[in-house]
């Protein structure tokens, strides 16, 4: 038992780090946690291009698609090292992590030639158009309708919570093509050009006050049949391949952790409070539990094995802990803690800001409840929930 790289891993780490040092500055206390805006997008595209040219974009992808043909462990090492630098990576996470792999799995040779390299080089950004106002956890319940018209399909409907739709060039959209078929059977997936007529992205005003996600409206949007991914009616099968990658893409929380609240408590004199100390111990144990679980997963990858299901505990732990830590930090400040001015509040009001983000993290990429269902069903082998909609034609299902 040790935490050392193998010889090959160590060599790759050195190579990765020297590449990063050449191009980026190490992260420091002033590095923004949730950067946004035009400048950031420009910087992100440039960095993606640099990575692609250096052979560090999508390390596990085969070389024919511009990847490195490397191992999952090399990708983990790259992520660890890149995470130490002020690297603008966010805008590509979903496209390269979820959408483009779906195109590679189900697209034609023309699709792959047209889209994969441009995405990898950061020239085009992709978004994932699955969730709808009435299809969140039950994402197979999408209503966005696609109707065949000659060699084209006509799309009408609304998507929601689409990360990055306003700066995306392409998306993959899950539609209903047969409302007479049961829920999972009548779906079809398409590639959609986000700049075309009839596609409109509107930012959602989130409970946190920010506007990072979008609603996307489709009004008589025409898509050639050649931009279909998978067979007509096989959309759910395609979507599962996309979703399989989701929890790898939606990682840890960027909010304050036990260390930051410990420092904060020391500064404000609360570190001597016994009740606080006990909570701090709980947060440390859970956070260590998750970090060390990732080491177990990496060990399996390093040995060339398939990791076990243990990594599925991650988001349940991190999102809940973030909410709990922020709540305690605010209560620690008593009445004063309700203020959120970034200039005057301690830690730049980080705890207050993350307090308002945390509810979203418990929902995005699978709610706590769905994640627990997944553990119960797929890891423990317990029976599925009752599915009253399983064999019923979609258009006869109760709505509300």
């Amino acid at each position: 038992m040790d935490f050392n790289d193998t010889k090959e891993e160590a060599e790759f780490r050195v190579e990765a780090r020297s590449f990063l040092e050449k191009h980026l500055k190490p992260k420091d206390a002033n590095s923004p946690r949730r950067p946004t805006g035009e400048d950031f997008l420009k910087r992100a595209k440039e960095w993606q291009k640099t990575k692609a040219e250096g052979g560090f974009a999508q390390i596990t992808w085969p070389k024919e698609w511009g990847g490195r043909g490397g191992t999952a462990m090399q990708q983990v090492i790259w992520n660890q090292e890149e995470g130490k630098f002020d690297a603008p990576t966010g805008p590509f996470t979903i496209g390269l992590g979820m959408c483009v792999p779906t195109v590679i799995a189900f697209g034609s040779d023309e699709h792959k030639k047209r889209y994969v390299e441009k995405a990898l080089r950061g020239e085009e950004i992709w978004c994932q158009l699955f969730s709808e106002p009435a299809a969140g956890s039950d994402v197979a319940g999408v209503k966005t309708r696609a109707i065949k018209d000659g060699d084209e399909w006509v799309i009408n409907g609304q998507k929601v919570w689409t990360t990055g739709a306003h700066f995306s060039d392409y998306g993959i959209v899950l539609t209903r093509t047969d409302p007479k078929a049961p829920k999972h059977k009548g779906l079809t997936m398409f590639i959609v050009d986000m700049h075309q007529k009839g596609v409109e992205a509107k930012p959602i005003h989130q409970a946190s006050g920010g506007r990072e996600f979008n609603e996307v409206y489709f009004t008589d949007v025409r898509i050639p049949d050649s931009d279909r991914l998978g067979e007509v009616g096989d959309g759910w099968k395609v979507a599962l391949v996309t979703l399989m990658n989701e929890r790898l893409a939606v990682g840890g929380s960027p909010g304050p952790d036990w260390k930051e609240i410990m420092e904060y408590a020391r500064d404000t004199g609360s570190l001597t409070d016994q009740a606080f100390r006990e909570k701090l111990a709980d947060w440390y144990v859970a956070a260590q539990g998750y970090s060390l679980t990732k080491f177990r997963t990496q060990t399996a990858l390093s040995r060339g094995d398939t990791p076990g299901p243990e990594n599925s505990i991650g988001k349940i732990i991190t999102a809940n802990q973030l909410q709990d830590i922020c709540n305690s930090a605010i209560e620690m400040q008593d009445h004063y803690g309700i203020m959120n001015d970034t200039d005057t509040m301690p830690a730049n009001a980080l705890f207050q800001q993350s307090f308002m983000w945390a509810p979203g993290l418990r929902i995005a990429g699978g709610t706590d409840e769905i994640l627990k269902n997944i553990i119960a069903e797929r890891v423990l082998g317990l029976p599925q929930d009752v599915r009253v909609d399983k064999k019923v034609p979609f258009d006869e299902l109760k709505q509300g």
Binding site: M1, Y284, Y290, D385
Partner: protein, 371 residues
């Protein structure tokens, strides 16, 4: 990255499980539970001694197998899973580790070989009453050759032949080794929530004893013994917690109510998923504890604390919710759920309760951040 046990260690764990599945069932555990005169299971204990497991982490020069702490960790997990009703933890994690940590060459030579052969059964006596024993406030005293005072409760204190005792000496504390079969020692069994690991009150009345290590350094030795035992106990807890999750899952799949398995209801599914999350948090923390223990890393204090805390929480949750999942059957004497519930509580308080370890952990983090 190599944060897992080796193939050899996993093989050892598998062999231990096979052996215990055959030789140490809950029927064996119940023989001790149901018979007040029994303090442990003699048959199981003799076989455990024969297997040589006590000597897993004892160097060959003292008669042990000289394998290592990682090997002892995987055995501990299996002993916990099997609820082994034997003085293995007292003898191996506490008594032998105390000798290894504080004993002189002579003491180790004289005693450890007899520990491995089963001739010496050890226990560790620190508690004197309610609350975590503070070395500065101990009432049991050692004058350099004789021990006086009362320790209660002492796990396996009624079957042990020898004890390592935390006692006051001068203005400090010392660890002392005492022969419980000798003069000046009286002991009586005490009733506890967990009869399958027996407990005693031991009174020393000028009992001949010898110091382990230097006078007045008992507190450091004590903390070192506890840090090391904490990791091993955590593996026992982990084994028990995983067994509870398996029992609850099996039951939830087989038990029908309202026309379907109860495990199809989210109230049960989410409960068991929570159990899984806690058990994984415990497992990962335990592995880190095992690493720190086997390498004698400077991180051992926080690694021991976090593995013990994670495992105590996991076992507590799994053992109580295993009963709950079993419903009324879970509350009967005949169904095994309560055996784990009892053991979970003993292991959570035996070497300091979670409250004590939370304080140890935060103190360690403070020292680290100040450095």
């Amino acid at each position: 990255m190599n944060f897992d046990f080796s193939e050899d260690q996993k093989f050892l764990a598998g062999e231990a499980r096979k052996f215990l599945n055959a030789q140490c069932t809950t029927a064996h555990v119940r023989e001790v539970l149901n018979d007040e005169s029994k303090s442990h299971h003699d048959g199981v204990w003799n076989k455990v001694v024969e297997m040589g497991w006590i000597g897993t982490a004892i160097p060959e020069e003292y008669g042990g197998l000289g394998l290592g702490m990682l090997e002892l960790c995987v055995i501990a997990e299996e002993m916990g899973r099997a609820l082994a009703p034997v003085p293995f933890a007292s003898t191996t994690y506490f008594f032998a580790e105390a000798l290894k940590a504080a004993g002189s060459e002579e003491q180790k030579k004289e005693v450890l070989e007899k520990v491995v052969s089963g001739e010496v059964v050890g226990c560790y006596a620190a508690s004197e009453g309610p609350g975590n024993p503070e070395p500065s406030k101990l009432k049991t005293t050692f004058d350099g050759s004789k021990l006086t005072g009362t320790k209660i409760p002492v796990t396996d204190g009624d079957i042990a032949t020898h004890a390592v005792v935390l006692a006051k000496e001068g203005s400090g504390a010392s660890l002392v080794l005492v022969d419980l079969t000798g003069a000046g020692v009286s002991r009586k069994k005490v009733s506890t929530l967990e009869p399958t690991r027996s407990h005693a009150e031991i009174t020393f009345d000028g009992a001949p004893a010898q110091r382990l290590g230097k006078a007045g350094e008992g507190e450091d030795y004590h903390n070192r013994v506890l840090d090391r035992a904490a990791v091993l106990l955590a593996f026992e807890q982990l084994g028990g917690a995983d067994r509870c999750l398996e029992m609850a899952t099996e039951f939830a799949k087989d038990r029908y109510a309202f026309g379907r398995p109860i495990g199809g209801n989210q109230a049960i599914k989410h409960k068991l998923a929570d159990m899984y999350v806690k058990n994984q948090v415990a497992r990962s923390n335990c592995y880190y504890g095992a690493w720190a223990l086997s390498t004698d890393a400077s991180e051992l204090p926080e690694a021991a604390a976090s593995s013990r805390l994670a495992a105590s929480e996991a076992y507590w949750f799994a053992s109580k919710e295993n009963i709950q999942t079993h419903g009324g059957m879970g509350f009967t004497w005949e169904v095994d759920c309560h055996l784990f519930y009892r053991r979970a509580k003993l292991l959570a308080v035996q070497a300091g309760s979670p409250k004590v370890w939370k304080e140890k952990l935060v103190s360690a983090l403070e020292r680290k951040n100040a450095a």
